[in-house]
């Protein structure tokens, strides 16, 4: 029996009268690399932000190992510590060095000792190839480097799931590769459970084992990448892929 890490049931989110997400249902199993694709404004990022409780849900529930995380009993902080998030705009802490960025969460949230936190931070920074830059501050490194540090920061918390919110959209084209390589290695070598919102179709196709296509706040189609990219059932998926792959 495979273990459901995350279950999303009937999730909806409205901003005022505008429904961004309508009745979303899906399950994330251990080791899944799920990519979420779709046009801008289809609700992909909002969905990810809802999963990390950065937005409050309008209706529905999110189960983490079968436990409802939106209820009052669950402490959102301890849940978030187990679900890492990588943002489009990096959101590295500007007042801290690269190393401190990767240590602070461990020390303050997980209560890891300083020496251990340092080791762990160095381990993950080496993993993303950023170890030589431990003394730099975020405003002194490039976008691609920032994003790799942000990934290391999330990994240092040793989360069970990593959420990526368009991790390469804010990068110069030549830096996209270095970030995707790191993500690819996480998926293939570390078997990290990942949920990736992206416009990088090649990543979705080669690395993920499941693709969700979203349009207008609904999951229109879901399936393995081979199926979605070569022979989608839904007309909307077909139109979207034609637009994006030709453009």
């Amino acid at each position: 029996m495979s273990e459901h890490i995350l279950e999303i049931h009937h999730l909806s989110k409205t901003f005022g009268s505008h429904a961004v997400l309508k009745d979303i249902d899906f399950i994330v199993d251990k080791g899944d690399v799920t990519t979420i694709i779709g046009s801008s404004g289809s609700g992909k990022s909002t969905l990810l932000r809802c999963i990390n409780l950065l937005e409050t849900l309008t209706t529905g529930e999110i189960l983490f190992h079968g436990q409802d995380v939106t209820g009052r009993k669950m402490n959102p902080s301890s849940y978030r510590a187990k679900v890492g998030m990588v943002f489009q705009s990096f959101n590295l802490f500007n007042n801290l060095t690269v190393l401190a960025n990767c240590m602070i969460g461990q020390q303050k949230v997980l209560k890891v000792q300083k020496e251990e936190a340092r080791k762990r931070a160095l381990y993950y920074l080496s993993k993303v190839g950023m170890a030589p830059y431990i003394n730099a501050r975020p405003d002194q490194i490039s976008g691609g480097q920032k994003q790799r540090v942000a990934i290391a920061r999330a990994l240092a918390m040793e989360p069970e799931v990593l959420l990526f919110d368009e991790p390469t959209s804010a990068l110069d084209p030549e830096m996209v590769g270095e970030v995707l390589d790191v993500m690819k290695s996480l998926a293939e070598k570390d078997h990290m459970t990942m949920l990736v919102v992206t416009h990088e179709m090649s990543f979705a196709r080669e690395v993920s084992n499941r693709v969700l296509y979203m349009a207008d706040g609904l999951i229109e189609e879901e399936g393995p990448p081979e199926k979605i990219f070569t022979n989608p059932d839904n007309q909307k998926t077909r139109d979207f892929l034609r637009r994006i792959l030709q453009g």
Binding site: N91, F93, N94, K108, Y123, G129, A150, M157
Partner: protein, 276 residues
């Protein structure tokens, strides 16, 4: 004329130098203490005012937070909107009037009045400073599981502090000058010395001239030191790359729970040559 002025000043200095210096010292101690306490009050109010609450929080928390915000609002408006000289009178004479407690020590009242006054201004500066921090910083901290206090203490306030350093400097300089109104309740600061000395020897202008020079020196020194502090808070402008082999050795002693390979993986090699 000028010769006359200088001879008057040197006469005053010869006779009253210790009194003037004590006045300066008192002014400095009061201004520094009150600015520091005011900052603490300001930061405290700033954090309290920005605790987020949503529709899903329980009713008591919502009412409590609402109440806190109203109280801080009232505090800021009252102490920012009335003259400090009157606040001093109110507290110094009002306490015995209403509660029968009188202050034995003039220092206590003076520090309380100036601190509370500074706090009212600082509360607004801190609120503004917090609002100017990129929301992404809050989200980044939330996403790794930090709660509001941790986010504030380790991420937001250090950045806020740096941003509002000029404001703190402003407040300090204002305090150096404005503590002079404390003479109304008998605090013997630098300005009170002037009143006393000039009253005794009728050398109003020479004494005032010295006072002007003295205050200007105090504030100029403060400006200079604050600039230095700002620069220090901005951090180093460059960084050194660290030899990766050493780091990998250190990190290698960390045992990752899963069978995910070591830091000596290919991915590491890929980026090795990249350091600029």
């Amino acid at each position: 004329m000028i010769a006359q002025l200088f001879s008057d000043i040197s006469g005053l200095w010869a006779k009253y130098s210790t009194v003037y210096l004590t006045g300066i010292l008192n002014t400095l101690i009061l201004a520094i203490t009150a600015t520091l306490i005011g900052c603490v009050i300001g930061f405290f109010c700033g954090i309290l005012q920005t605790i987020p609450y949503g529709p899903k929080d329980n009713i008591i928390k919502k009412i409590l937070l609402k109440l806190v915000r109203i109280l801080i609002r009232v505090y800021v408006e009252v102490f920012r909107g009335t003259p400090m000289i009157l606040q001093a009178v109110f507290i110094y004479y009002g306490m015995p009037y209403f509660f029968g407690v009188s202050f034995k020590n003039i220092w206590t009242v003076s520090i309380i009045v100036v601190s509370i006054n500074t706090g009212a201004y600082m509360a607004e500066s801190v609120r503004g400073g917090i609002m100017s921090i990129d929301p992404g910083q809050f989200e980044g901290a939330k996403a790794i599981g930090m709660n509001h206090w941790q986010t504030m203490l380790y991420i937001v306030l250090p950045q806020t502090l740096r941003n509002i350093m000029p404001q703190i400097g402003n407040n300090y300089i204002i305090n150096v000058k404005d503590t002079s109104v404390m003479f109304i309740i008998g605090f013997s600061d630098f300005f009170a010395v002037h009143k006393m000395v000039s009253g005794a020897v009728f050398k109003y202008f020479p004494s005032a001239f010295m006072e002007m020079g003295g205050y200007l020196c105090l504030t100029l020194a403060a400006s200079f030191l604050l600039r230095r502090l700002e620069k220090k808070l901005a951090g180093k402008s460059n960084y050194e790359l660290v030899n990766e082999d050493q780091l990998v050795m250190a990190a290698g002693t960390y045992s990752y729970p899963a069978e995910s390979g070591s830091p000596f993986d290919e991915i590491n090699k890929d980026y090795k040559g990249e350091g600029q």
